[in-house]
């Protein structure tokens, strides 16, 4: 019997020829990630366990991105705990403010996350690296602590669900974000609980790496353990285009024809419109054409889902020559310094500022209601982020509508949730 890509990676990392869903494996870990919110707890647990050094100074990655640049004194103290730990442990991949970015955009840029890897992170969106053909999943701080010590973690091998996207996208504004919102709308926020979501089909082959990252990023929003797709020439091209080459060997896996799946879903591009997820769940989706009369106070373009270069580029094209509507605050946050620099060189930043938007240094900031764009009671925001839970971006009485960058940019111009094809030609 064949294996899925997820099963193959877990087998290879746990010294088994084959593994089956439900089996508990003790897996080697290639990268263990923490941030300024989750690492401080992991660092206390690390000490509690009596450990004195990390298993590998190259494989532990620490990024201050959530409340950084430090939003207040308490955050500054937490960031300092992580910085000191990184220094004492001689962690090679600690990225200081000025060199950092939102972790899930930054790590692939540095070629730290590779096809065939097992990656864990004390951050739920660690599933993003599935876009590269890696098994990657979010865990808590205690798991991170144990992995930093031993280089290993236990997993229950998940069952896999296959999502096949046939056909082509309806218009050029349809993005990876729309595909994943569409799926979550179909299966619900626990529709893939404990399972692997495997994405495949012509629309995935056609999708850019930035779209693939957005897709894998939100697998956790359906409750999944990981999202994954097979690596191809685009994956290689992406890796080769980075300044730093991979420091380790890697293996490209794909699922066998006769692998067993929990379920198989087939979708057709003709049925997938631009999506908007209404408050307060990412599964509350509807086509943008049905999102009428929603007036907004703020637009956020950024996050580990949609803060990459092509996301900004789409938004810029729509904004060019237009103005942000009076009464709307638009905040653009390039996900990494490198993306920021490219956006500047290619004139995107100028368009944003001309239109009346602010452009921020990389940070998670408003995505988790941290800083840099918190909502007041009763305010509404269209965001390219990944969660619209109660109070996620500020006051518990505020509302977040999730969408891709095209809908977000078009809505900034009109002040109501808008189909971008109404503003520019598709």
């Amino acid at each position: 019997m064949g294996m899925t890509i997820t099963e193959k990676i877990l087998a290879a990392h746990s010294g088994h020829e084959t593994v089956v869903p439900g089996q508990i494996v003790d897996s080697d870990v290639d990268i263990a990630l923490g941030n300024d919110i989750t690492a401080p707890i992991a660092i206390s647990r690390f000490a509690e366990a009596g450990a004195d050094k990390v298993f590998d100074t190259k494989k532990v990655v620490l990024v201050p991105d959530h409340f950084a640049p430090n939003k207040d004194i308490a955050s500054a103290n937490q960031a300092k705990v992580m910085r000191n730990f990184a220094k004492n442990q001689k962690i090679e991949n600690y990225f200081e403010v000025g060199r950092m970015g939102i972790e899930h955009a930054l790590l692939p840029e540095r070629n730290l996350t590779l096809p065939g890897d097992v990656i864990i992170g004390a951050d739920s969106h660690t599933c993003t690296y599935g876009a590269l053909g890696a098994f990657s999943t979010g865990v808590g701080s205690t798991d991170l602590a144990a992995t930093m010590i031993t280089g290993k973690i236990w997993f229950r091998v998940p069952e896999s669900m296959k999502f096949i996207f046939r056909g082509v996208k309806k218009n050029r504004f349809i993005s990876g974000k729309d595909l994943i919102l569409y799926v979550i709308g179909k299966i619900g926020v626990s529709g893939a609980l404990y399972r692997a979501m495997e994405f495949t089909g012509p629309m995935i082959d056609d999708a850019s790496m930035d779209d693939r990252f957005a897709l894998a990023n939100m697998a956790v929003e359906a409750g999944a353990k990981n999202g994954i797709m097979k690596p191809d020439w685009k994956t290689e091209e992406f890796m080769n285009s980075q300044e730093i080459s991979p420091g380790r060997d890697f293996t490209q896996y794909e699922s066998d024809e006769d692998a067993l799946y929990h379920s198989v879903y087939e979708f057709d591009g003709d049925d997938i419109d631009l999506q908007v997820a209404y408050p307060h769940l990412p599964s509350n989706t509807r086509p943008v054409s049905e999102a009428t009369d929603v007036t907004i106070d703020q637009v956020v373009i950024g996050s580990c889902t949609n803060g990459r270069f092509h996301d900004l580029k789409v938004a810029e094209e729509i904004l060019r020559g237009n103005k942000v509507a009076p009464g709307v605050r638009m905040i653009v946050i390039p996900a990494t310094q490198k993306i920021y620099m490219r956006a500047m060189k290619e004139g995107l930043i100028e368009t944003f500022i001309d239109a009346g938007a602010v452009v921020s240094t990389p940070t998670c900031g408003p995505c988790l209601g941290g800083h840099m764009g918190i909502l007041a009671a009763g305010e509404r925001c269209v965001a390219t982020t990944n969660r619209n839970f109660i109070g996620r971006m500020g006051d518990p009485k505020s509302e977040v509508y999730l969408a891709g960058p095209a809908v977000a940019a078009a809505s900034a111009i009109t002040g109501v949730i808008t189909d971008p094809t109404q503003v520019v030609t598709a």
Binding site: I41, G140, W154, S190
Partner: protein, 166 residues
Amino acid sequence: MKLSGKTWKFGADVDTDQIIPARYLNTIDPAALAAHVMEDADPTFAGKVGEGDIIVGGDNFGCGSSREHAPIAIKAAGVSCVVAPFFARIFYRNAFNMGLPIVECKSAADDANTGDVFEVDLAEGFVINKTQGKTYESAQVPPFMQNLLDAGGLIAYTRERISKQP
């Protein structure tokens, strides 16, 4: 281990942003986190929850972020156990790792009203609603996770692992 306490009932999909909103994540002090536990689901909860009380959640309790601050806040608020039909993946893992008992039992969670008194037997795997006079069987804890609990959580387990290293 047997636990007994008064229940507080919540709906489905209570996410970790409701359990402990991100605006309070600039500390890892358990008591400071407990002061805001469940705040965006019920702003008055931290003021009324008592030592030993039991949270009864709906489907997918603890979905969303990986923040361990969520089970820490619940535990530090004195809550002895969480009962729900099923839990989100990372929350489930975190709770075991840090020793917060959680129990999957759909009918007990569905039937409960706030204020009912529960008795939870973790070892035998059942939940009794003393107020309603009903007994329910709860889901078995996988053997591997039982070992982890017996070892005293993941940190104790890891400490053993380190001490065995040459």
